[in-house]
Assembly symmetry: C2
Homo-oligomer: 241 residues x 2
Amino acid sequence: MERVYRACLVIIGNEILSGSTQDANLAFLGEQLNEIGICLDEARVVPDIPERIIQTVNEVRANFDYVFTTGGIGPTHDDITSQCVADAFGVPLLLHPDAYKAMVDFYGEEKLNEARLRMAHVPEGAILVENDISIAPGYQIENVFVMAGVPKIMQSMFSKLAPTLVGGKPVLSKTVSSEAKEGDIADGLGNIQREFSDVDIGSYPFMGRGGTGVRIVMRSTNEMNLEQCSLKVLQLLEEFS
Amino acid sequence: MERVYRACLVIIGNEILSGSTQDANLAFLGEQLNEIGICLDEARVVPDIPERIIQTVNEVRANFDYVFTTGGIGPTHDDITSQCVADAFGVPLLLHPDAYKAMVDFYGEEKLNEARLRMAHVPEGAILVENDISIAPGYQIENVFVMAGVPKIMQSMFSKLAPTLVGGKPVLSKTVSSEAKEGDIADGLGNIQREFSDVDIGSYPFMGRGGTGVRIVMRSTNEMNLEQCSLKVLQLLEEFS
């Protein structure tokens, strides 16, 4: 049987839980991981509380092939991710010479205050992950990848680390939409799902200005079955539109 | 000491993890719960796998005052939330007479097929939560509130159940933005955070078309301290803008 690679995303930050910031990293990461054959299999959003971050990181790094974290690696008092990850691994937080050098070059000795220097500290043994937007790095320690929360920076970090990830077959997807009612197509759709056991069929009703309907998303690593499955779904939808 | 009420949101659905759907319920719920003095303290996104949903529901309902779930209560094969919640509580899934009557009235006997009837089944002992958009209900069982995934329906369900929730003091918030650099204000901001221990100060850098800067979000149940804290933060930001 084909090996399935599973990842968990840990989103760190009170701002996401309070609703003051809308997360944009989960959807990005889910899509990108699909393409390299890694299944984003869980996500957790945790507050800026050290014990909660440490406990969550330790729990998920034991249960998933890859763990990605976003948020909390900036220079301010609420940026506690790196200390928590170091504590989770039971290693000290150390000034990384390459990160230090990059920051000195960028800011100059004068503007490189204590707050900014925090961003050059990583857990012992971590490998830096650079990005094209900011000078502060993310990093990898074992199967945990620590990234920024700002989407643009996170995306740049991910583009740098993605080539190092080992995945399985890419997950392909097909989406079809229709004005059909979910309750009308449900029986037929269940039959198609039973026929194509290696295609994951999801049914998502929508309502908007353009009217109501249903969006069917099919995902599989098997291109031929995905194609055949989508033809049957299209037939079904036409029957009830 | 003041009692703090803590909630966990469980977002159920492969579509969120694959990135094909952007979640909109977390931010809504986080904001709404703040207003009634309940802290959204964690969120988990789990796939449509029964054991994972059951395990997650059982874990979080033991650890939080309130659990909210979104997604997976429609009529199609991938809507497995209700069976999983019933299994988590160790009770059977039963046809609820009120939900059944509402659906017969709406669809008529003829269109009320087996798929739609699934939406009238709830775990034994559950209390229905209606909504203004669709005929299919959500429900409450003990401290777990099961809601739809479609944001409009979820929001309507939440508006019906919100008056039944017991919370603490509302969490008030103030947000100020500036073009200051996070690294410049970090030390001063840390000092202000130490001075106002009952205000949660978050610092969030942003970058967009309008330029880069930082947004400071302050949250507290203490209105006077929140006010004084925000004045000090404003002073600090002006110093570095």
